[in-house]
């Protein structure tokens, strides 16, 4: 029993250290890479470190930039729906930014994955919300029907809940206040919110529990870390992610998205990190993952070891754009994840 407790504590500590490191590296990851002197570029504004900018995307939908990952917000008559909450350290600033869009109650939070970088604000932000009551709240004769205390409902695919919580007797990865309380285990969950159909789809990719959210009236898809325009994808093998699942998932996004004239704009896509995107950006990202997958697959076929595969630099042309040599998700770790997944 004691050994099990020690093991659980050690696991939690490792997870905490890893998550802190991952959050801390966001600022560095956003920092522009050193450009050679000849590669002139005019000054382009960016969000100030530690601050959050609010971008109106389309219709009811907004994108919060600066918390680490992008956070999607739908605001309207029914209240506020958020997709992901960012790291815990940014919760108060995220809430303040949401309040510049709407003072209405936060009704729903949707977690696109379980990583702390994306869901770290669940505790604080859910507690600041209020789920939609089933009955008139002022009717003192009966309960208003809400399942728990007054907080926003947290929706996720069921495996996200499994990884945040733990079986009885084991220490959970996250406090109970962070856990999703409205999970789904089917391919699709639907909401009608702020006069808009909202489709929550299970699209495994970087984990086995990714969700994407399509706002059908605004025609905006929030895809979480299936698309990270600042980095090679963080494929979490331990959480069931794989390059093949990611490529299939990106194709699902491409199948839903319809570009406008000249093959751009139209359906807008909010990536996990990086700029607001559209279909071509996702197509290029899918291209990158597929090319690296095929090269690593070829290396495995030719009998190359992992170290030889890394030395062969199968992602060479994408390194300047997405690669990192320091931090928790380096180019080497990405190649290793692809290699290990294909070697299975």
């Amino acid at each position: 029993m004691t050994r099990r407790l020690l093991f659980a504590t050690a696991c939690a500590a490792v997870a905490l250290i890893a998550s802190v490191e991952r959050v801390q590296t966001q600022a560095a990851q956003r920092a522009p890479q050193a450009r050679p002197a000849w590669a002139w570029k005019p000054a382009i504004p960016t969000v100030k470190a530690g601050e959050i900018d609010v971008v109106h995307v389309k219709g009811n939908v907004y994108m919060l930039v600066g918390a680490g990952p992008n956070i999607t917000v739908s605001a309207g008559n029914d209240g506020v729906l958020m997709i992901d909450t960012g790291p815990a350290s940014m919760s108060e600033k995220v809430l303040a930014a949401v309040r510049t869009i709407s003072k209405a109650p936060i009704r729903y939070i949707i977690n696109t994955n379980e990583h702390d970088l994306y869901s770290g604000g669940n505790e604080v932000i859910a507690a600041a919300g209020a789920s939609i009551p089933f009955r008139i709240a002022t009717d003192v004769r009966v309960s208003d029907g809400r399942l728990g205390k007054e907080r926003a409902n947290v929706i996720s695919y069921v495996t996200v809940y499994h990884r945040m919580s733990a079986p009885t007797g084991q220490k959970a990865a996250r406090s109970e206040e962070a856990w999703p309380d409205d999970t789904y285990s089917t391919p699709l969950k639907k909401l009608y919110f702020n006069d808009e159909p909202v489709m929550i789809t299970h699209v495994p990719g970087t984990t086995d529990g990714n969700s994407i959210v399509h706002f059908r009236t605004a025609d905006v898809i929030s895809v979480g870390d299936l698309v990270d325009l600042t980095s090679f994808p963080y494929i979490d093998l331990a959480a069931g992610g794989s390059p093949q699942a990611l490529i299939d998932g990106l194709q699902q996004v491409l199948d839903i998205a319809i570009p406008g004239r000249k093959s751009e704009e139209g359906t807008l896509i909010i990536p996990g990190r990086g700029r607001l995107a559209d279909l071509p950006d996702v197509a290029y990202y899918r291209e990158m993952v597929a090319i690296v997958r095929d090269r690593v697959q070829d290396m495995i076929k030719r009998g190359l070891t992992l170290e030889q595969a890394k030395a062969g630099r199968p992602a060479l042309e994408f390194e300047a754009r997405y690669g990192k040599t320091t931090g928790d998700w380096t180019t080497d770790k990405f190649i290793e994840a692809v290699y290990q997944s294909l070697k299975k």
Binding site: Q33, R35, P36, W38, A39, W40, K41, P42, A43, I44, P45, T46, V47, D53, V55, M63, V65, I247, D248, Q251, L254, D255, P259, K262, S263, E264, E265, L268, G274, R275, L276, A277, D278, L279, P280, D281, A283, Y284, R286, E287, A290, I291, D294, R295, D298, L316, E317, F318, E319, A320, R321
Partner: protein, 296 residues
């Protein structure tokens, strides 16, 4: 008599004074491209004259022609700078003017080949933040350097600079210098600053347009083809060392006998001094299959 002569003079002076400043360097109108100079061997897959760095070369060498049949790319337009350089597109430049003040807000550009449009802001507005959507034409701002209009585009999507693989990245800055050096002729110089795929800036003054009010601007409707030879979800590309384009075959010769090494591109292949280095390189001997040699 003297009094009468001053009236038309005054009218003329007033007319001149009321012209907006940009009218002195007006680039608006219809422009017909004149024949351009061809570069390199003309073989598909030739990167001679392009300052590719190793990453840019690898990106180019992985490109397979089937890429154009990927459903998501069927309607991908040429980038504006690509068509400016390519020399086969009709161009229309028109002014967007603030009506009450008659101040020039922007120039709107449209090119006919796989249609592309751009808006060149002339009103000094700031560039948008780095988190806004990138587009095929990016955000362009123009300013005058003497009588040359210098257009600087950022916020670009990745796109091809040749239709056989070489790309510029979404981190590139593109400058186009437009100079009208007579009532009839307009010249464009394209400069690409791309730290991701290039080793040096790529500079090309390649095109002259003739002012031609009668030239037509055809429409370019496009819809996604759902029955292309490429199955949805497929990403065609060549593995390293497996490129099948003729210029990437060391044995294939073009009409000039260009050595294979030159066809790999790189900064030094841009400069005239490189011609002297070509001497010792082995000359390929096998003729390319029919249709492999063509422009752009």
């Amino acid at each position: 008599m003297f009094h009468n002569a001053r009236v038309p003079l005054l009218v003329l002076l007033l007319a001149l004074a009321s012209q907006p400043a940009w009218a002195q360097r007006d680039l608006t109108g219809m422009w017909r491209p004149l024949a351009r100079n061809e570069d390199g061997s003309g073989l598909d897959g030739d990167y001679a004259g392009l300052p590719l760095n190793p990453a840019g070369r690898m990106r180019a060498q992985s490109w397979a022609p089937e890429n154009f049949d990927v459903p998501e790319w069927v309607c991908r337009p040429h980038a504006f700078d690509f068509s400016v350089e390519a020399g086969a597109a009709t161009m229309r430049l028109s002014a967007i003017v603030d009506d009450p003040t008659q101040k020039l807000i922007a120039l709107h550009g449209r090119l006919s080949m796989r249609e592309q449009e751009t808006t060149i802001y002339m009103d000094g507005r700031p560039r948008p933040p780095d988190y806004v959507r990138h587009s095929w034409s990016g955000f362009s701002a123009g300013e005058w350097e003497g009588t040359t209009l210098v257009v600087t585009a950022t916020h670009l999507k990745e796109d091809y600079i040749r239709r056989w693989g070489p790309m510029r990245s979404d981190d590139a800055t593109v400058r186009i210098r437009f100079k009208r050096f007579s009532p009839e002729y307009l010249r464009a110089t394209v400069i690409i600053y791309d730290p991701v795929y290039m080793a040096e800036p790529y500079i090309r003054t390649s095109l002259i347009w003739l002012h031609d009010p009668d030239v037509l601007m055809p429409p370019y409707p496009c819809e996604e083809a759902t029955e292309t030879v490429i199955e949805r979800g497929t990403v065609p590309h060549y593995l390293p060392g497996k490129n099948l384009l003729p210029a990437q075959d060391p044995k294939v010769v073009d009409q000039f006998g260009t050595p294979y090494d030159a066809r790999l591109g790189g900064a030094e292949t841009m400069y005239p001094e490189y011609i002297k280095k070509l001497g010792p390189f082995p000359r390929p001997t096998n003729a390319a299959a029919g249709g492999a040699e063509r422009g752009q």
